[in-house]
């Protein structure tokens, strides 16, 4: 994938819907997904029977070992289409890391190739009851985890804690600087009506007094698990121009693909930095967009240290400098001239919606649908997911840009 994407800006988002992010929804996840899908289709000015493609990623991103239950803990595209009474020409699921990036890529390819005219892309996230989100009751360790779990290296907190420590030590950063990241995410999330943290910003003092979970990761470095669903309708640029809302085009995408196998959930800092740089090279080549043209990067923040790593991977600041950049107000969405990298609140400011807040902010701002949060002169958005060396990103453009 070295040349520019031949279908760049040929596919657009035409509508959306989202639920509130809540700790535990009253309705079953599948019911929320069906209602949200219907709302998104109506928002795009379409009827359910016009949707001929369904794309998603159904993974429940918990280390808890939960058995997936359709309509209860996960919602696949095929299940959703069936519940909507649609027999689609195309239904697919992404099963890699970076579920939103991967789903968007599949949806765009389906529309661009003509496999489907109108694709519903959704993601449904569930917060299981009964035990802590990542707690796993295993007594015996089989397979790949036998190399890590018996000594207590398990789950995503320890996963991110290792490269975070390495970053602090190598670049002379302090974990106290992460307060600026989380306070910014919560400030922006507090302004979003459907956010779990709506009207609940966080102060630096609150951040710094939070308990440590897996040094240097503290409670507020982690997004809070929620129940929630969002859905988008994608179609060709030509069709989208005849629909009610201003189209937002997909210029291109890239995912990371690290070459070195590692122990389960082992993310050495150098893998992230080198894999992220390679992913970014592919992203700029694929989208035909350069980093200087991106005025709305939405970095992924399921764990706060990923914000520093993404800012560096995208070239917004040099490697090892993001902690100083953010501390100096570099991503303050209210400060003219700054990079509004968490203007949509991200996962830390919305809840564990797994890449959806980043995609949604790009869509809302570029479609001029962000209401009182609407920013002036935003033309190129970039939605990241997961870690730079795995999850990748999607570049979006507004009407009139390309």
């Amino acid at each position: 994938m070295s040349a520019r994407f031949s279908a760049g800006n040929a596919v657009a988002i035409a509508g959306f819907a989202t639920t509130e992010a809540v700790r535990h929804a009253e309705q079953a996840l599948g019911a929320l997904a069906v209602d949200t899908a219907r709302s998104a289709i109506a928002d795009a000015g379409l009827r359910v029977d016009q949707i001929d493609g369904f794309v998603s990623s159904s993974l429940l991103p918990s280390a808890g070992g939960h058995r997936p239950e359709e309509g209860v803990s996960v919602v696949s595209s095929a299940w959703l289409a069936q519940q909507l009474g649609v027999s689609p020409d195309y239904a697919a699921g992404f099963d890699g890391i970076g579920q939103i990036t991967g789903s968007v890529a599949i949806a765009v390819n389906a529309v661009a190739s003509g496999a489907a005219d109108y694709v519903l892309l959704h993601r449904a996230l569930h917060n299981p009851r009964g035990r802590r989100y990542h707690s796993n009751p295993m007594r015996e360790v089989h397979g790949a985890l036998q190399w890590t779990a018996p000594q207590g290296f398990f789950g995503p907190l320890a996963m991110i804690a290792l490269p975070y420590t390495e970053y602090l030590q190598r670049f002379g950063a302090r974990r106290e600087s992460m307060a600026a990241v989380v306070v910014e995410a919560r400030k922006n999330g507090a302004r979003i009506p459907w956010s779990y943290w709506h009207d609940r910003p966080l102060s630096s003092q609150e951040y710094l007094s939070a308990p440590m979970l897996c040094d240097p990761v503290c409670r507020y470095d982690c997004d809070i698990p929620v129940d929630g669903v969002a859905a988008f309708v994608l179609t060709t640029a030509e069709r989208a121009r005849d629909l009610p809302h201003r189209p937002v085009y997909v210029a291109g995408y890239a995912s990371g693909a690290p070459q070195t196998p590692r122990l389960p959930t082992h993310w050495p800092l150098d893998d992230i930095i080198e894999g992220g740089a390679e992913m970014a090279r592919k992203l700029w080549a694929h989208s035909g967009i350069g980093p200087a043209q991106v005025d709305l990067p939405q970095v992924y923040d399921g764990f706060a240290p990923l914000v520093w790593l993404w800012l560096e991977a995208l070239g917004i600041c040099p490697t090892g400098e993001a902690h100083r950049f953010v501390d100096a107000g570099g991503i303050d969405a209210d400060r003219p001239g700054s990079v509004p990298a968490l203007s949509g609140g991200g996962a830390l400011g919305n809840g564990r919606m797994h890449g959806l807040p980043q995609m949604l902010e790009c869509y809302l701002q570029l479609a001029h649908r962000a209401g009182p949060r609407q920013r002036d002169e935003v033309n190129v958005g970039l939605a990241c997911h997961s870690s730079p060396h795995y999850g990748g990103a999607v570049v979006y453009t507004a009407e009139g840009v390309c």
């Binding site: 280390a63 802590r132 990542h134 707690s135 796993n136 009751p137 295993m138 007594r139 015996e140 360790v141 089989h142 397979g143 790949a144 036998q146 190399w147 890590t148 779990a149 018996p150 000594q151 207590g152 290296f153 398990f154 789950g155 907190l157 320890a158 804690a161 290792l162 490269p163 420590t165 390495e166 030590q169 190598r170 308990p211 440590m212 979970l213 897996c214 040094d215 240097p216 990761v217 070195t260 196998p261 590692r262 122990l263 389960p264 082992h266 050495p268 800092l269």
Partner: protein, 139 residues
């Protein structure tokens, strides 16, 4: 002894590793085709890409350097509540550049750590016949 912690279940590939560990001998998987070590032993050798690596487990010194660490204060697996807080270290073994293992650092949470600090191999005895590779700071 912490019998309630999850215990590894040896399989056809890993059985020699756990048998050696029970004798407090640290080994790593070595590809019979190219001789390079890798952890974990994947289906395909990550060095020569052989689909028939016929891994053998050869003893290593256990010496290495700390590439990173964390202090686990909240356990997500059963049997660790009495152990927290504990230190995990990400170690690059001396035997081969890039050869990494993650294990407990048995010096405790007050040990002063820094990148590239030297460690040596050690073991935690979990149950009869089950020992988990770990590390201590080099003297």
């Amino acid at each position: 002894m912490s019998a309630s912690r999850p215990v590894p279940v040896p399989d056809a590939v890993s059985a020699p590793y756990w048998a050696a560990a029970a004798e407090h001998v640290l080994t790593v998987a070595r590809c019979a085709r190219c001789g390079q070590a890798s952890m974990p032993p994947e289906v395909v050798c990550p060095h020569c890409r052989s689909t028939d690596p016929q891994f053998t487990f050869a003893p290593v010194s256990g010496r290495g350097i700390i590439r990173s660490w964390t202090v686990v204060r909240q356990a997500f697996l059963p049997g660790f509540d009495a152990d927290v807080p504990f230190v995990l270290v990400d170690v690059e073994l001396d035997e081969q550049p890039g050869l990494r293992m993650i294990g407990r650092l048995r010096d405790g949470v007050d040990a002063r750590l820094q990148l590239s600090a030297a460690v040596v191999g050690d073991f935690e005895d979990l149950a009869e016949g089950i020992a988990i590779p770990a590390f201590v700071l080099a003297p």
